[in-house]
């Protein structure tokens, strides 16, 4: 035991030195990216290891959402995020059965015990229980402030699901200060203003900025849909259906057979025609 404590202290010292050296060479880049990181002790101590821990924390958030079960064997693993990012492709609890049934185990007693101990059912957190994923999302961005996905997910779960829009916006604005060029985080702020606050002017400001930033990147058509739909709907809410129509028509080139897009185009054409 006496030998272990010095070894642990040495490991800690090595990690700290590695982080300091890493920080020395990357200092300019870090300063340019974010002033907030300079005061973050956790970030300094853990160095490159923080990315791994941050990722693990995000994986933990997903497993907490599923009652503590890791979704490694599930074909669309990590899907607690899907609902936040691409709502149309979410999944239900009853869609997956990860369990091997007890009768498949034959006469083997030990596998039967292991099967009885392991939790294999598929469930999702609901209602107030959803707050249980928040600590892991918080630690994800504490460990890696450049994890845009964690900011977006945190914003969605806090603002839209748990109905705390002001907390969500505060969190997402911290995300913007650490990731000023992220279209995703701007889009998430716009969505919180739109869905939870009902403040369409503010929503438009952030969604337009997100659109502008997204044009610098080569985003796929699904991300484009995520961005354009709330933008178009926000324009409609402030009485500018012409702009909504333009955005939906642009989306139609990517999704020519999408019924919802077609219906919205028809709706806005009728609205403009009726004026």
């Amino acid at each position: 035991m006496k030998k272990i404590i010095p070894v642990l202290l040495c490991c800690f010292l090595i990690l700290y030195l590695a982080a300091s050296i890493d920080g020395f060479f990357a200092a300019d880049a870090l300063r340019a990216e974010s002033a907030a990181l300079e005061g973050d002790t956790l970030y300094k101590i853990l160095g490159g290891f923080r990315d791994y821990l941050s990722w693990m924390s995000l994986v933990n958030a997903d497993s907490v959402f599923h009652g503590g079960i890791r979704q490694e064997n599930c074909p669309d693993a990590f899907h607690f995020s899907v609902e936040a990012i691409r709502p149309a492709s979410g999944h239900r609890e009853d869609e997956h059965d990860h369990s091997r049934h007890a009768e498949d185990l034959g006469p083997n007693i030990l596998p039967k015990i292991a099967h009885a101990i392991a939790v294999t059912e598929h469930k999702h957190l609901t209602g107030a229980e959803e707050r249980e994923i928040l600590p892991w999302l918080y630690y994800t961005v504490k460990l890696n402030p450049h994890n845009e996905l964690a900011y977006v997910l945190g914003g969605y779960w806090v603002g839209v699901r748990l109905k705390k829009p002001s907390e969500a916006v505060k969190f997402l604005l911290e995300g913007v200060s650490n990731n000023p060029n992220s279209w995703r985080i701007h889009q998430a702020i716009g969505e919180v203003y739109y869905m939870a606050e009902g403040d369409f002017e503010k929503a438009l400001r952030y969604l337009e900025r997100a659109k502008e930033l997204s044009e610098r990147e080569n985003i796929d058509k699904f991300d484009k849909r995520v961005l354009y739909v709330p933008l178009a709907e926000a324009y409609a809410r402030i009485g500018k259906p012409e702009r909504s129509l333009e955005l939906y028509e642009e989306l139609l080139t990517d999704f020519p057979n999408n019924q919802i897009v077609q219906e919205r185009i028809g709706h806005f054409r009728r609205m403009i025609g009726a004026r």
Binding site: M1, K2, V64, G67, D104, L110, I117, R131, G154, L162
Partner: protein
């Protein structure tokens, strides 16, 4: 009686050392830090605390169990205190069993103190927890330490302290990792392959049986009585076999 005397002697010796106190203070500091955290203006979330707290008490208790068990017999041999002890009417069997019981008392005792504090902390935050689940978690934690102490005592007859601690830790994590895979191979293969993997599967200690953290943290149902009894029975059988091996090896050892 002689076993208990040796056990009591080992336990007192271990109590005098400060290892447990260091880990206990570290645990209080860490659990205190996580307890006072609030996220997005809410302090109601509690499963993260249960999760991190349980992982910490398991880790700390394993460290105590392994380091204490691993040095019991080698220390007596190195300091030559084993000779006067064995010169008295104490058999080698009683000596090994006494050392084992002392290690179990120390590691389960430490775990009990950690667990009591942990249970108090989680009862006061968030959604609370089921008493049955809490009792099962305690029992399974104690059983794990009982098994690990036996494995460590067994290896201490052949390995140095550091090699023993490293190997037992490695075995613990490796088995936790591969046992499910081996189980899948047994169930999906046939013939010689299935027989070979079955042999390995039944030979290795099943440390994964004792991990019911998910059930405790995420409010799943407690385990049925037959599972609890099976795990207790499994531990008793496995520990008996390991200690039998340890006693046999110690009897053959030239001192």
């Amino acid at each position: 009686m002689k076993i208990l005397t040796i056990a009591r002697h080992s336990f007192k010796e271990l109590i005098r050392k400060k290892d447990f106190a260091v880990l206990f203070i570290l645990f209080i500091a860490l659990i205190g830090f996580f307890y006072t955290e609030s996220f997005f203006g809410t302090s109601d979330a509690s499963r993260y605390l249960k999760d991190i707290g349980f992982s910490l008490i398991t880790l700390f208790s394993i460290v105590i169990a392994l380091t204490f068990s691993a040095k019991q017999i080698p220390a007596e041999l190195a300091e030559r205190t084993v000779y006067p002890l064995l010169a008295k009417p104490v058999s080698r069997t009683e000596f090994v069993l006494g050392k084992y019981v002392g290690s179990v008392l120390m590691s389960v005792g430490s775990f009990t103190v950690f667990f009591a504090l942990y249970a108090g902390v989680i009862a006061t935050k968030g959604e609370g927890t089921s008493l049955v689940m809490l009792a099962q978690s305690y029992l399974f934690g104690a059983l794990l330490l009982t098994l690990l102490s036996a494995v460590s005592i067994f290896f201490s007859l052949f390995l140095t302290l550091s090699a023993n601690v490293t190997l037992t830790f490695l075995i613990y994590f490796l088995i936790r990792w591969v046992n499910t895979t081996i189980q899948e191979v047994i169930l999906t293969s046939k013939g010689a392959v299935s027989a070979l993997y079955s042999f390995i599967y039944y030979l290795l200690p099943h440390f994964e049986f004792y991990d019911i953290k998910i059930r405790l943290v995420h409010h799943w149902d407690p385990l049925p009585a037959w599972v609890v009894c099976s795990v207790v029975g499994y531990t008793v059988v496995y520990v008996t076999l390991i200690l039998w091996g340890a006693v046999r090896s110690f009897k053959r050892k030239s001192l």
